[in-house]
């Protein structure tokens, strides 16, 4: 498809630094590898086409690609774990010279877990909810090694300790839902490494974690790589992560290899797509308008004021109905002026989301007051709109784009059906969607597009305040940049106020007028971005450091 | 006579048990059976459709309970199921006064209940006191009432009892059949405490249930089985002087489904089967030789099935029914419907030939009272049409029967869903009536709901029902045919006979009730049957044969057409094969 890409790939391959023959030291080699998916309506969609890859002993290969580029299919296909409608149409997977595609089920089972291990994207979903962590690790161990129960327990404990759990006994008795996201991912890693595989395939292992945890896991992987001489295939959309981890990086675009080489080699290539992936902020320069000076004097009266807002949650035990109180917000005080953008940062569990939901009216605070400026207070509902982290779950998968966008209009009984469809087209154009896709079902859109639909829907309610609850963190960096650009554009056109809730600090200085740092249900700091990055408060510091570690040197984190 | 027989019995001296009680034999009035002399020993297993509800003879009125009680208890006078006439039982002999009101009974002497306690006139007096007690509502009470008044019972001496009827009663000795004599020594306390209706329930210990019948209760396993054992004190001997009954044990298995009963019989789990449907009879026939059983067709039963139109006069509220009654009340209409029915086809298809066409409620199974002069109804569509025409009916172009007012003749036939044969008859009737242009619609209904309509609300057009006479004697059916009878089904609650022929029927029936001479009664009863056949208050259809089966080697097996077709002579049944092996 892309002749340029081909030549580039071969060019890089030829210029391997050690000049070793391609297959001699290759641990895993994919040759001419293609995958198709069969749609329910009979259409065939190609997910990977003629991919050539190899990973050498002890090497970390980064696989970089946008979402939808086929990189997850790649990780599943290596262990022949494609869903029933997926098919490997051509090529070979050679692991230590053996073709995995030719193996019987039982031979394959020996490779899985013991030779090649997989870490999946979502640790919450990758662990069985009804089995203890210990049990899940032991089952993997005993699937490959003849060990006694006691030995298995001992090895599991050792592995958990190695992975950074101070009290492995407690963890091995725990169920997944009792662990935090980071702990779950560690447990999943322990499960993958328990049989000392020679190759670890990690499929976006960080993307569902908060920044600080991401940094910790990344550190762990680096440590393990050093200690265990682990080979790794690290799949991600974030080039920054790869800079400190990967020896080589393969760029996949739309199912095809676009380029392969060290990061330096790739960054020096004259390929706009590759550079866009590696340096997404360069794109940002194009889309983001220059940060505006904080404009405090738009109105005298604050648009939104929170006074002493507290909220705790009660969890019930089904049998005893004993109550457990979890303090989520403690005496929160702040105000937002109209037209400004406030960012709220903090690690997960710090109370950010509860804050957002209290403001949006989904939760009622236990005490304190959430008040709006007098002129908005009279306005009916819809003044505040919340845009969820996961646009996929925030839109009814059965709806068409037009249904979703028109929903606020329908609920408010505004406009006739004709007018509505006209408004829908208008909103779609405004958020950069092709209005001719209005009748497509929501699930047919990509993640970024869905987030645009969610924004368009929020706009349809003619809000004054948009709360973005981690709305960008699930998206690839370039997409994040695009959406941010869109938001800023909309802000200038509609005079919107933004409350931007996030755990990572990307683009913060460009976007936010002010940053609030939360920790443990309290506001610990409030400042402009520029000042914030110099902060010495430990909570703020750890966020900044984690963010720095995850991003390529070239990527802007701090000003 | 009896004495000499007794002597031979003593000489035979077969059983240790007998010799133990030999001393008492001298005074014992034993009855000598005329049946073939058999071999003692062995067990017989039969099936019951459901569990007995009680072992209490005072309150029990369901067939199953009565069936068990009749094996354990005995009556004064007994109707021989085979000959259909009365014979002495606990009563050695009796006399009837000329006017037919006084009935004096001589009891057998020296009899003992199954627990060994002696039996005498006091037990008889006690039994009748209980049965006639108003507060107890025993089902026997109503049978012992004549013209609304109870009979009087007096003890003349220890072995003689006198019964005085309030008015002459043609069949007075027959009422004593299946009225069991109770052990006063066990039940009097309960009676005086007013608890006798609670006595002898299913959870009473078997040895506390005592009677004068051939067997006594040994074991009751709820839901599963009832085991009766031989009563060593029973009062019959065979011609060789052997004490009856022959069988050591008589077991009833509870097998609630008719099909399962057939299977268990075929498998040999039970050795007697009663009340076979013609369908099952035919299906079993080919197995007779290989499975060593024999099926018996005991001939026409006493059950009469009929189609009946609603002739009640309290149906004004229901215009629908009332409108149709002008057809139903016309005898020509009923005759026409009768002529349209293909009874032969019913006999052939529903009963595989094992049934007989009926013209009156007396079936050919009733040897004493069947009127042979009445011709069985003939199926003739032409005759039916003629009759309809004569009654003013006509047909429209599509062949539908219309009445004078031009209304199409349509009616519903209520039928109980629990009786497969009657449902089948209804289906056939629909088709037959279609041939003469009538739209008849069979409506199956759960039996109590159907009874409620026929006896209670009178909200029906026509119904197919069946009644099984309890006895051959016409008295048992007067309730149906007297215009003031409680089950004068087609027209309930008549103050005075609605029609001349009903009036005549009342007169004749009343007269036969007090006529003691059989020939005279018989003439009167022939007249009743003539009226029935002419006026067709009930349009008789067919009577099924009594179909039963038993293992080949069961001796003295004589199925009867009266109730308890098979085990009525359980005391005489024996295994031809060596004792102990069934």
């Amino acid at each position: 498809m892309n002749p340029g890409g081909r030549t580039l790939t071969s060019g890089i391959a030829a210029s391997r630094p050690d000049g070793a023959s391609p297959s001699a030291a290759a641990l895993l080699r994919l040759a001419d590898f293609s995958i198709d998916y069969l749609g329910s309506d009979g259409e065939v969609v190609s997910a990977l086409r003629n991919v050539e890859l190899e990973i050498r002993e002890g090497e970390v290969l980064g696989v970089l690609g946008e979402s939808g580029s086929g990189k997850s299919s790649l990780s599943n296909a290596i262990l022949r774990l494609l869903p029933p409608n997926g098919r490997i149409t051509s090529g070979r997977i050679e692991y230590r010279g053996k073709d995995l595609l030719a193996l019987s089920q039982s031979e394959l089972r020996q490779v899985r877990g013991a030779g090649i291990a997989l870490i999946s994207q979502e640790p919450a979903l990758a662990l069985n909810p009804v089995l203890t962590i210990g049990r899940q690790i032991i089952d993997v161990l005993r699937a490959h090694r003849r060990v006694s129960k006691e030995q298995a327990m001992e090895q599991t404990r050792a592995m958990l300790r190695e992975i950074g759990f101070p009290d492995p006994d407690r963890i091995s008795r725990a169920y997944p839902h009792q662990l935090s996201g980071g702990q779950r991912q560690r447990a999943a890693i322990a499960q993958s490494l328990i049989c000392e595989p020679s190759l670890l395939v990690a499929d976006e292992p960080l993307s569902s974690l908060d920044t600080i945890t991401q940094a910790e896991i990344l550190e762990l992987l680096q440590k393990l790589k050093g200690e265990l001489n682990l080979s790794m295939m690290f799949i991600t959309h974030n080039a920054g992560v790869l800079s400190s981890l990967a020896e080589r990086v393969a760029v996949i675009e739309n199912g095809q290899m676009r380029a392969c080489g060290t990061l330096d080699e790739l960054s020096s290539l004259d390929d706009a797509y590759v550079r866009g992936l590696i340096f997404p902020e360069k794109d940002l320069g194009r889309v983001l308008v220059q940060p505006q000076e904080p404009n405090w004097s738009v109105t005298e009266e604050p648009f939104l004021r929170l006074r002493n807002v507290s909220k705790h949650f009660i969890q019930r035990h089904i049998f005893s109905r004993r109550k457990f109180a979890v303090q989520a917000l403690q005496a929160i005080d702040f105000e937002i002026r109209e037209g400004s953008t406030i960012a709220v940062i903090g690690r997960s569990g710090s109370g950010k989301t509860t804050l957002a939901r209290c403001i949006a009216g989904f939760e009622t605070p236990d005490s304190g007051e959430v008040s709006f400026a007098a002129e908005v207070a009279n306005q009916s509902r819809g003044v505040v709109q919340l845009i969820f982290q996961d646009a996929g779950s925030a839109l009814n998968p059965r709806f068409t784009a037009a249904d979703a966008i028109a929903e606020p209009l329908v609920i408010a009984r505004q406009a006739s059906p004709d007018q509505r469809s006209q408004r829908v087209r208008q909103f779609m154009e405004e958020v950069g969607l092709d209005p001719s896709w209005a009748s497509r079902i929501v699930i047919e859109f990509s993640g970024g597009q869905r987030q645009r639909i969610a924004i368009a829907r929020a706009l349809a309610a003619s809000p004054r305040l948009l709360i973005l609850d981690e709305s960008l963190s699930g998206l690839d960096l370039p997409i994040q940049a695009q959406i941010l650009g869109l938001l800023m554009d909309l802000q200038s056109r509609h005079g919107l106020t933004y409350l931007h809730i996030t755990h990572d600090l990307n683009f913060l200085s460009r976007f936010a007028d002010e940053v609030i740092v939360m920790d443990d249900g309290r506001i610990v700091e409030r400042n402009t971005p520029a000042v914030l990055f110099q902060s010495t408060h430990p909570a703020t510091r750890s966020l900044i450091e984690a963010s720095e570690r995850l991003h390529a040197p070239g990527l802007e984190v701090a000003q | 006579m009896i004495r000499s027989r007794l002597l031979s019995f003593r000489l035979a001296g077969l059983l240790v048990l007998c010799s133990l009680v030999a001393g008492a034999h001298a005074q014992q009035d034993l009855l000598v059976s005329t049946a073939e002399s058999g071999i003692p020993g062995g067990k017989l297993v039969a099936a019951l459709r459901s569990e007995p509800r009680s072992f209490n003879p005072v309150t029990a009125d369901d067939q199953v309970s009565v069936g068990i009680i009749s094996r354990v208890m005995a009556d004064l006078v007994h109707i021989n199921r085979a000959t259909q006439s009365t014979e002495p039982a606990l009563a050695r002999s009796w006399t009837v006064s000329k006017d037919g009101t006084v009935f004096t009974v001589k009891l057998r002497r020296g009899l003992k209940f199954s627990d060994g306690a002696p039996f005498n006139a006091d037990d008889v007096i006690f039994s009748f006191k209980v049965y006639l007690d108003e507060k107890l509502h025993s089902p026997h009470r109503d049978l012992l009432m004549v013209a609304g008044k109870p009979l009087r019972v007096e003890k003349l001496d220890s072995w003689t009892v006198r019964f005085t009827f309030p008015s002459p009663y043609a069949t007075l000795e027959r009422v004593f059949d299946t009225v069991p004599m109770l052990p006063r020594h066990l039940l009097e306390k309960d009676y005086l405490e007013g608890k006798i209706d609670q006595a002898w329930g299913l959870n009473t210990p078997p040895d506390k249930i005592v009677g004068l019948g051939p067997f006594r209760l040994k074991q009751f396993v709820p839901g599963e089985r009832i085991v009766l054992e031989r009563n060593p004190y029973y009062w019959k001997v065979d011609s060789k002087g052997q004490k009856l009954p022959y069988l050591d044990e008589l077991t009833f298995l509870i097998v609630p489904s008719q099909d399962a009963q057939v299977v268990r019989f075929e498998a040999g789990d039970t050795q007697v089967i009663s009340g076979l449907s013609a369908d099952n009879f035919v299906a079993l026939e080919p197995q007779q030789n290989s499975r060593h059983f024999k099926l018996y067709d005991a001939g026409p039963s006493l059950e009469y099935n009929f189609l009946m139109f609603n002739l009640n006069d309290d149906t004004q509220a229901n215009a629908e029914v009332a409108g149709k009654q002008q057809w139903f009340r016309d005898v020509r209409f009923r005759q026409a419907v009768s002529a349209a029915i293909d009874r032969a086809a019913i006999v052939r298809l529903v009963y595989h030939g094992r049934a007989t066409i009926l013209s009156t409620h007396i079936t050919p199974g009733n040897k004493l009272w069947f009127n042979k002069a009445i011709k069985p109804p003939v199926h003739s569509t032409d005759k039916a049409k003629e009759l309809f025409k004569s009654a003013g009916f006509s047909w429209n172009s599509s062949g539908k029967l219309l009445d004078r007012a031009g209304q199409p003749v349509e009616f519903t036939i209520l039928v109980s869903s629990s009786n497969a044969q009657r449902s089948q008859m209804a289906t056939m009737l629909q088709e037959d009536l279609k041939q003469v242009g009538i739209t008849a619609r069979a409506v199956p209904m759960e039996s109590r709901a159907a009874i409620n309509r026929v006896l209670g609300s009178h909200d029906y057009d026509a119904t197919i029902m069946g009644i099984a006479s309890g006895d051959i004697d016409p008295t048992s059916d007067t309730n149906v045919f007297m215009s003031n009878g409680q089950t004068h089904l087609w027209h309930l609650g008549e103050e005075t006979p609605a029609t001349p022929w009903e009036a005549e029927m009342d007169r004749v029936l009343q007269k036969q009730l007090v006529t003691l001479n059989y020939q005279q009664r018989r003439k009167l009863y022939d007249r009743v049957q003539e009226i029935e056949a002419e006026e067709l208050p009930l349009i008789y259809l067919v009577t099924p044969d009594v179909l039963v089966g038993a293992q080949e080697t069961l001796g003295n097996f004589r199925p009867a057409v009266l109730e308890q077709y098979t085990l009525w002579n359980a005391d005489e049944l024996f295994w031809r094969t060596p004792a102990g092996k069934r």
């Binding site: 262990l79 774990l81 089920q105 089972r109 490779v111 899985r112 877990g113 997989l118 999946s120 979903l125 990758a126 662990l127 069985n128 009804v130 089995l131 203890t132 899940q136 089952d139 993997v140 699937a143 169920y175 839902h177 009792q178 999943a188 499960q191 993958s192 049989c195 969890q315 089904i318 109905r321 | 297993v45 509800r53 009680s54 009125d61 509502h137 089902p139 109503d142 209706d197 329930g201 299913l202 396993v221 709820p222 839901g223 599963e224 089985r225 298995l253 509870i254 609630p256 489904s257 099909d259 399962a260 299977v263 268990r264 789990d269 109590r448 409620n452 309509r453 309730n479 409680q486 089950t487």
Partner: protein, 321 residues
């Protein structure tokens, strides 16, 4: 825990009261009463019938009868059977024991069969096993218990391999072991009929729940770790699928009392079936009521059991909070 038990107890009581009240009303609405049939025989006079009705209180208005029953039920007397002239509970309990003797093993065996079969079919989705499975369950759903029971009887009759009904042989002598062996032998066919009759819905349910679990990412992850198929299906997937299955199991306990009645009649099993079915048709009010309450009780206990099982099996419930 105490509050929870109290709440459950309250629900149970409410349900029992509701069921009994409704049944009273419905029985009143249905045409005919226990003595309808006696009227037809003509041998019992209307006066006697009237007196009998009064004796059993059938002539009293419905609310009075219900309140009387409630007050006597509080003292442990659940009413008298008109037909048997005995307390309903005395009649029902020994028969209920026989019914449970048959249905409890059947319920357990059904599940023990259905679970592995369902797991197998789900793991071979679309394969021939799965197709046979789908076809088989459809066919089973189309067969009626009665037909199966009758065919089983015919099978017993023709082959002589099993007893053709009943619960025990007449002439068994020997110890307890011989006695129970005999009962077990008699149980084979009715149990087979009940199991075959009740299997299909469970089978379909197990398969579809398993399919949902097998589609989940953690199953793919576990497969990726090379865990063998058996462990994967039974130790990993099955516990994860347990939640909806346990709920269904709880509901199916209601059938312990009600599900086998017809089969009992055809196979002459001395359980509740024959008596209750007859009581229904005979309008023997308190007997029917007793049986229905018994079956409701089993439903309640079953649901409670399901909750406890869920608590034991599902750590998400157990360790919440």
């Amino acid at each position: 825990m105490i509050r929870y038990m109290l709440r459950r107890f309250g629900h149970a009581l409410l349900l029992l009261v509701g069921v009994s009240l409704l049944l009273f009303i419905l029985m009143e609405a249905a045409p005919g009463d226990f003595f309808s049939e006696a009227r037809l025989s003509g041998e019992i006079s209307p006066q006697t019938l009237h007196a009998l009705r009064a004796q059993y209180g059938l002539d009293q208005p419905l609310p009075v009868r219900y309140l009387k029953w409630v007050s006597s039920a509080m003292h442990g007397d659940f009413g008298y059977s008109v037909a048997y002239n005995m307390p309903a509970s005395t009649l029902l309990l020994p028969r209920a024991r026989n019914t449970l003797l048959l249905t409890v093993p059947c319920l357990l065996i059904s599940w023990l069969l259905a679970v592995p079969l369902g797991v197998l079919a789900a793991s071979r989705r679309g394969g021939w096993i799965d197709r046979v499975y789908s076809g088989g369950t459809s066919a089973l759903l189309g067969l009626h218990d009665l037909l199966l029971a009758l065919l089983a009887l015919l099978f017993a009759l023709r082959t002589g391999a099993f007893p053709a009904g009943g619960m025990a042989s007449l002439d068994v002598t020997g110890g307890l072991w011989v006695h129970w062996k005999d009962i077990g032998w008699h149980m084979v066919l009715p149990a087979a009929v009940l199991i075959v009759g009740s299997l299909a819905p469970i089978l379909r349910h197990v398969r579809s729940t398993m399919l949902d679990v097998l589609d989940s990412p953690y199953m793919r992850a576990a497969e990726g770790h090379g865990i063998n198929r058996f462990t994967l299906l039974f130790r990993h997937a099955l516990p994860a699928a347990a939640n909806p299955l346990i709920s269904l199991f709880g509901l199916s306990t209601a059938l312990l009392i009600g599900g086998s009645l017809l089969v009992e009649v055809v196979m002459s099993w001395p359980g509740l079936g024959p008596m209750v079915l007859e009581a229904i048709l005979a309008r023997d009010m308190f007997l029917v009521l007793g049986a229905v309450l018994l079956s409701t009780l089993f439903l309640i206990v079953g649901n409670l059991l399901a909750d406890l099982l869920l608590y034991a099996f599902d750590p998400r419930i157990r360790t919440e909070a």
